[in-house]
């Protein structure tokens, strides 16, 4: 089942690259992918922890326990669901490429395939490799079809993320070697098993923890390693911005939950510099994301930059949940990954639609668009409300859990202060998102915005489905949590 899910976009992309097929084929692939994911979602037995729908090849290298194996548990399934819906929206709402449309569509499908592969892999090597696979078309698309200073942005994101990947790779190798040799494995299933959890001596945990946190941190735009993100997202074509910020970026957080939390649980308590522990430093970094980046976002005057920076900011909350190291916080951050992915994808989709119509995203030139494009306006408003954490949307439910989790039992004395400080971020995010919404959609319509045409037909449905999922997650978080809980409990034991 998962193999088919993975093959659908890959085959689609290959066919497009060979010159067969068009946007229609791309849409069919995305639809198939969504349908398959939904089937898996409903067929998954959420009462059990551990992987289901598994598939494994024979060992690929003699002597190393390395195989091509797929499987999902609650956490990866939730992210697959996210990637399916975001891919669907990305394909549907992608503007028509003027040059080389087939390569454009193939790239979207390849990103989607890479993301699917990364989340469905049970093997550390393929987990890493699929992520790299998704990055390559990302760079290509920014460089070829981006806007603004696209070449510079493409170079920056390429070099920066490649650096992150290398640090991550070093971290993975270090982690692999830190595990006592009879237990070494690339197999995530084996690594997740309970007996692995306190296998690495506490003193040896710090170095891999640092490498992995910095490596994943760069991929997730953890402060101060964030500066690739705003320029990258602002010049990326709409589908790339949606897919990368919505889904691909979650890879790093997924990695934190998969590897760092279960295998290196005590590293955070170790001192790094005088009496600052590793966890304190992570908390400082995530406060940088929430407060400092929040302020930076307020200063932005372009819609795409506002969304891009806000996406960087919200990573702070997810890290806060991870830093809490308890079930409430982890569940909160896992659900927030899902919720943030949907809301930021919807925001970028609307921003892309505006760029198509206006040609610019400068907030000073926009205004009053809610009159002529009410559907886009409503979607933007809903996604805004979601992203600033209003009840009724999944973001609120998950942020609440993050806050409660982080406040629960102070692992370090600093985490409570950090939680209160990051609460202030909720105010900051309301400031910039509402300002942006007001500038773009409220007020008197500008001359050009009064002539815009709204979305039609199936595009409405697709964008609406993102919002619907957000609402479902907001009203019935219990349902989504029931998928996450067994997996995360296993990670914490």
């Amino acid at each position: 089942m998962l193999t088919i899910l993975l093959l659908v976009p890959i085959l689609g992309a290959v066919s497009l690259l060979l010159g067969k097929g068009d946007r229609g084929l791309t849409k069919i692939c995305a639809l198939l992918q969504t349908a398959l994911t939904l089937t898996i979602w409903f067929a998954y037995d959420r009462t059990k922890a551990g992987y289901q729908f598994t598939f494994a090849s024979d060992p690929l290298l003699p002597g190393l326990d390395l195989r091509f194996s797929l499987g999902v548990d609650g956490l990866s399934l939730l992210l697959l669901l996210l990637s399916a819906f975001v891919s669907l929206a990305a394909v549907w709402l992608a503007p028509k490429a003027e040059k080389r449309p087939q390569l454009y569509d193939a790239c979207i499908l390849l990103i989607s395939a890479g993301v699917t592969g990364a989340f469905a892999s049970q093997d550390l090597f393929f987990f890493y490799a699929f992520h790299e696979l998704a990055l390559i078309p990302t760079f290509l698309m920014i460089g070829l079809w981006g806007s603004g200073e696209r070449q510079a942005a493409a170079w920056k994101i390429t070099v920066y993320l490649a650096l992150g990947s290398i640090i991550l790779l070093i971290g993975l190798v270090d982690l692999f070697l830190a595990i006592p040799s009879p237990n070494r494995s690339f197999d995530l299933v084996k690594l997740q098993q309970i007996e692995m959890h306190h296998l690495i001596p506490v003193a040896k945990q710090l170095r891999p923890w640092c490498f992995l946190t910095v490596g994943f941190g760069i991929l997730v735009s953890l402060f101060p390693f964030h500066s690739w993100a705003p320029t990258g997202y602002a010049s990326a074509p709409t589908p790339v911005a949606m897919l990368h910020s919505g889904v691909l970026k979650k890879f790093g957080l997924y990695g934190m939950l998969r590897l760092v939390v279960p295998l290196l649980p005590d590293a955070g308590k170790l001192p790094v510099y005088s009496n600052w522990t590793a966890m304190d430093l992570l908390l400082l970094a995530l406060l940088g994301n929430i407060l400092y980046i929040g302020l930076v976002t307020i200063a932005q005057r372009k819609l795409d930059y506002v969304i891009a920076y806000s996406s960087v900011m919200h990573m702070g909350y997810i890290f806060l949940g991870i830093a809490s190291l308890n079930l409430i916080g982890l569940t909160g951050s896992a659900l927030l990954m899902f919720a943030h992915g949907l809301s930021v994808a919807a925001l970028f989709a609307v921003a892309g639609a505006i760029r198509e119509r206006e040609g610019s995203l400068s907030l000073d030139r926009l205004g009053g668009a809610a009159k002529s494009v009410p559907f886009l306006g409503i979607c933007f408003a809903m996604a805004t409300f979601a992203s600033i954490g209003l009840p009724g949307f999944a973001n609120f439910a998950s942020e609440t859990m993050v806050f409660f989790g982080a406040f629960k039992d102070p692992g370090s004395s600093f985490i409570r202060t950090a939680t209160i400080l990051s609460l202030w971020g909720v105010v900051i995010s309301a400031v910039y998102m509402l300002r942006a919404y007001k500038s773009a959609f409220l007020g008197a319509p500008t001359e050009s915005s009064s002539k815009w045409a709204d979305l039609t037909g199936s595009s409405k449905l697709v964008l609406g489905s993102l919002i619907t999922l957000l609402l479902l997650g907001g009203f019935f978080p219990k349902y989504f949590i029931s998928y996450l809980k067994p997996t995360l409990e296993l990670a914490l034991r």
């Binding site: 500066s227 302020l295 307020i298 409660f404 609460l423 909720v426 105010v427 959609f441």
Partner: protein, 603 residues
């Protein structure tokens, strides 16, 4: 039946909001009837709730479930306090719905208006019915959203869009404190439900500092929602919304939510004298300053808005002096006459084609007699005319203040004096004398759908204060808590005295005037607080924002990131200098190299 009743009350408006906003928005009449039906279901449900025999009834739905370590419930609870609020919210809600059918008849986005109104009813009822802090916070935020939607109803108007944002953001600041308070309560007691917290209050009172901090954090939420100083600035601006909205949300219900919340968690505030003192003084200062501001406003709705601020201040001060029941009583009566006054002003605005400047009105007594009489009753009730609702409830607060703190009592009296003064001023300038504009001369009473709510509210403004009625609504026990403080004849005499002084001085100053004889720019400019905040925000937040924007662009991205990539590039550049491209030069270097090597070898 008993257990489904609260759900029915709560969910009917939600259902209507969903149906209207998603499906029925094309048909205005369908939207209106759905919304009306929902509010009447809630109203009837609330009335039926009075018949429920057990004092407290609760039912829950688990919202977030992580097993024994963490559960968030949506729990509904009906007790005596809830019943009062239910009656206020659904009763005034229903009247405002009826009123709006005419007031908003011409509006192109009538469906959106009624949908948002239903959403508001849902959120407000959620606050009222909540049995735990987390759920209260959820609906607290939702009320903020629906208020945002309704203030910004005419979003193409720049001022309305701005006011909506301002209201939302100011409330968010309060909510920040509220959430922090909730976290503190939860981490100390491990509970979120009101009754559970009450049971384990001992864990909080062990640490008085923590208790005070917790109480003040929670109070922040009330400061935001009930528009107390220093977060009061959003309420006057919120008058940009349609007038029925101002009546329902920004006078009678949503702004009262803060007071309601304080009454709910009073058991938590009570042990901390410091917290109570802070609350009392913030309320008192708000009451006084807002009353002063109200004396110099010329927009009919703004006068009422500042008056609302002032009365809310009084209620909060009441909580602060420990008289939570009296505050709830004042909330209850105030809801009726303030809604009446707002709807009355709406009738005037409607009749005068959206004229809101009181100096462009005048003489409406003869052209709009029904509106005049009801408005008069509302004014008298608010000013504390003996025998009307406001007199009783204000008296109850003043009485408690008299026993507790003379400072608060004096401030309360001065506020009452000013209230009588500015309300009389408003009444004289608007209704008496001669019409100052053409529109004012052709005023007319509004259709029955608008007058009927006025008359009903006028009746309620008269009777709501009398013990027979109030005792029924409040329940026997709570009603006696209202009058817990020992009586003195001094307080009512002083109250009547300040009423007479206030009214008489306004009559003397404003009778027959065509423009304001008093000009106090400090008051008309609202103590320059808005300007101060604008400067403060520009000076701190925006400055910090542009500073960090600059740092991010030029230091983090420019110096550090570009610096690193620049270092790599620079090294490459240095090495590139060696490639000077002259073949003979290379040959020379080659030769020189060989000679050097040979020399070194031979030596």
């Amino acid at each position: 039946m008993d257990h489904t009743l609260p759900w029915l009350i709560l969910l009917a408006p939600l259902l209507s909001a969903i149906l209207v906003l998603l499906f029925a928005h094309r048909s205005k009449s369908l939207s209106v009837s759905l919304s009306l039906a929902a509010v009447f279901v809630s109203l009837i449900g609330s009335l039926m709730a009075f018949g429920i025999s057990p004092e407290a009834l609760s039912t829950t739905f688990t919202w977030i479930d992580l097993g024994p370590i963490f559960k968030l419930n949506i729990g509904l609870k009906i007790d005596a306090l809830t019943k009062v609020m239910l009656l206020v919210v659904t009763g005034i809600g229903a009247l405002v719905h009826i009123y709006s059918t005419v007031y908003m008849a011409e509006d192109s986005a009538k469906s959106r208006f009624f949908g948002s109104l239903s959403l508001f009813m849902f959120s407000m009822l959620g606050i009222v019915l909540a049995d735990n802090l987390a759920m209260m916070f959820i609906f607290w935020e939702l009320v903020g959203v629906s208020s945002f939607l309704l203030i910004g109803h005419w979003y193409t108007k720049e001022s309305a869009a701005k006011a909506a944002n301002k209201a939302f953001l100011t409330n968010r600041i309060g909510d920040f404190g509220f959430m922090a308070g909730i976290l503190l309560v939860w981490s100390t007691t491990g509970a979120l439900g009101f009754s559970e917290i009450q049971n384990s209050i001992g864990k909080l009172t062990e640490n008085p500092t923590l208790l005070t901090i917790t109480g003040l954090c929670l109070f922040c939420g009330a400061v935001g929602k009930s528009a107390q100083l220093p977060l009061h600035v959003w309420l006057p601006d919120a008058m940009e919304g349609p007038t029925p909205v101002s009546a329902l949300i920004h006078a009678a219900t949503m702004v009262a939510a803060g007071v309601y919340m304080l009454a709910r968690i009073f058991f938590l505030l009570e042990p901390s004298a410091i917290a109570l003192t802070v609350i009392a003084w913030i309320g008192a200062i708000t009451a006084l300053m807002a009353a002063l501001m109200a004396t110099q406003q010329n927009d009919i709705k703004r006068v009422l808005a500042y008056s609302t601020l002032s009365q809310l201040g009084l209620m909060v001060a009441g909580i602060g002096v420990g008289a939570w029941a009296a505050s709830m009583f004042h909330l209850f009566t105030h809801a009726f006459f303030k809604a009446l006054l707002f709807l009355g002003s709406g009738a005037i605005i409607h009749a005068l084609h959206h004229e809101q400047d009181i100096w462009k009105m005048g003489g409406l007594k003869s052209t709009m007699p029904k509106t005049f009489i009801t408005f008069l009753i509302g004014t008298l009730a608010l000013s504390g005319f003996p025998g009307l609702a406001g007199f009783f409830s204000k008296d109850a607060i003043l009485l408690s203040a008299y026993h507790k703190s003379s400072g608060i009592f004096v401030v309360g009296l001065v506020t009452s004096l000013l209230t009588a003064f500015y309300m009389t001023r408003l009444l004289i300038v608007t209704f008496l004398g001669k019409g100052r504009t053409e529109a004012a001369k052709h005023g007319h009473d509004c259709p029955a759908q608008m007058t009927l709510p006025l008359i009903l509210l006028a009746v309620l403004s008269v009777i709501a204060g009398y013990p027979i009625f109030a005792e029924f609504v409040f329940g026997h026990e709570n009603f006696h808590a209202v009058h817990a403080a020992p009586h003195t004849i001094l307080v009512p005499i002083l109250a009547i005295g300040v009423f007479i002084i206030g009214t008489a001085s306004a009559l003397a100053i404003y009778k027959g005037k065509n423009n304001d004889p008093i000009r106090i720019s400090l008051f008309s400019n609202r103590f320059y607080i808005d300007e101060f905040y604008a400067a403060l925000i520009a000076g701190t937040q925006d400055m910090l924002a542009s500073l960090s924007g600059w740092i991010d662009r030029y230091l983090v991205d420019g110096v550090i990131v570009r610096g690193l990539s620049g270092a790599a590039q620079g090294t490459g550049y240095l090495f590139r200098l060696l490639q000077f491209g002259n073949l003979q030069g290379y040959a020379f270097l080659f030769g020189a190299g060989v000679v050097t090597v040979l020399y070194l070898l031979i030596k």
